[in-house]
Amino acid sequence: MDNLLQTELSVSELTGLIKQTLEQGFYGLKVSGEISNFRPSSTGHWFFTLKDASCSISAVMFKGSTWKVDFAPQEGDKVIVTGGLDVYGARGTYQLKCDSMEKAGFGQILAMLEMRKRQYAALGYFDEKNKKPIPKRPLRVGVVTSPTGAALQDILNILQRRAPSVDVLVLPATVQGESAAPSIANRIQQANNLLLCDVLIVGRGGGSIEDLLPFSEECVIKAIHESQIPIVSAVGHEIDWALSDFVADLRAPTPSAAAELVSQGYLDSRNQVGNLRTQLLKSMESRLALAESKLKRFDTKAMGMRIKNIINTKEYLLANATNNIVTAQNQLLKSYSGRAELAIRELQALSPLAILARGYAVVQNQEGRLVASKEQAVPGSLLTLTFTDGCRKTLVKE
């Protein structure tokens, strides 16, 4: 450095010295200014100029840092950036390389919100015991929001899809600017006075921290605290928050999420009914399968065989019995016929015809009376002689 004055330097050598001096001497800076000529590149880097009343400085914020910024910088935004100087040798320019960016005044707003938060926390406004349960299946959902905002459309779409039977009542409110907080508080009171719904979604879509401030105003905090109707607070995007989130009965990260939360019961119930239906079907199926397997043992073929067996047995018995009867009958007949023959022979021996056959004859007079002595056979009378083969008339001579 000492002999810099005696040395001849090339442009590169000089630039190198400047780069070294500026970059090593100016780092970890915090600079406030107004954004102008904001040019986001297609590759994700931001190029802009930071200026105040009299001076301006080129600034760049690379993609690796821009994603951390929770707002989209606009022309004229007053911001506070942190970073260091960066020298671009090829053009001989210097610029402010920013690592972070926040809106000017952001710090004060945050501090104010923190203070208010502590104040209401101390009053017990955020206590868990004050939180009312959100009804599982509300019949009517009230929405306090801008009637023209995207938030309302998101809520309506999600409710339509997930719980198409639920009625929706829109309580239009101003959600930005001076009149917003009283307008929101008024709608909450109106819904309560007239008990217009079972649950109330209070919210709006994303915006700057100033845009969301109405939801942190005291009149809104009080209205939510006093509400008999359970309230879901749904302010901005996931990263945004407002004091309404703390005092409400439930905080939803976005308006869409609020619609999902209030319709969750319907979705769960639909699943539950679906599951029960499947369970009924399965139980009935297994019941029928059981009955079927029991029935299988009695299939027609096996049944036929069994009946045939029974019939065969009976038929055999019947045939057997018939046979026995016939035999018995025959024997009976045989014994009868033997006795008959004997009787006949006896009868034959006793028959008068048999006597006649041996040469005797029966003698009868004219009157047919038997003539058994010679006294009865008077000579000259006519007698009848009966032989074994017929009769003859005879005249008694002496």
Partner: protein, 68 residues
Amino acid sequence: MSFETDISRIEEIAQKLNASDTSLEESIALFEEGMRLAKALEKALAEAKRSVEIVLGEDPREAEITPL
């Protein structure tokens, strides 16, 4: 009809269907009842019949409500 009572009735039916001492005839009657209830509940839950309305007046003590 209450959703809860209907749900618990279906649960009861499912339990009875699984019990071995329920006769087949009884099972079929129970099954039919359960399916009828489940269908009615599903219909009530999924049926699109909502109204979307908007409050007109700003007066917190009264509200003129009209379809959106």
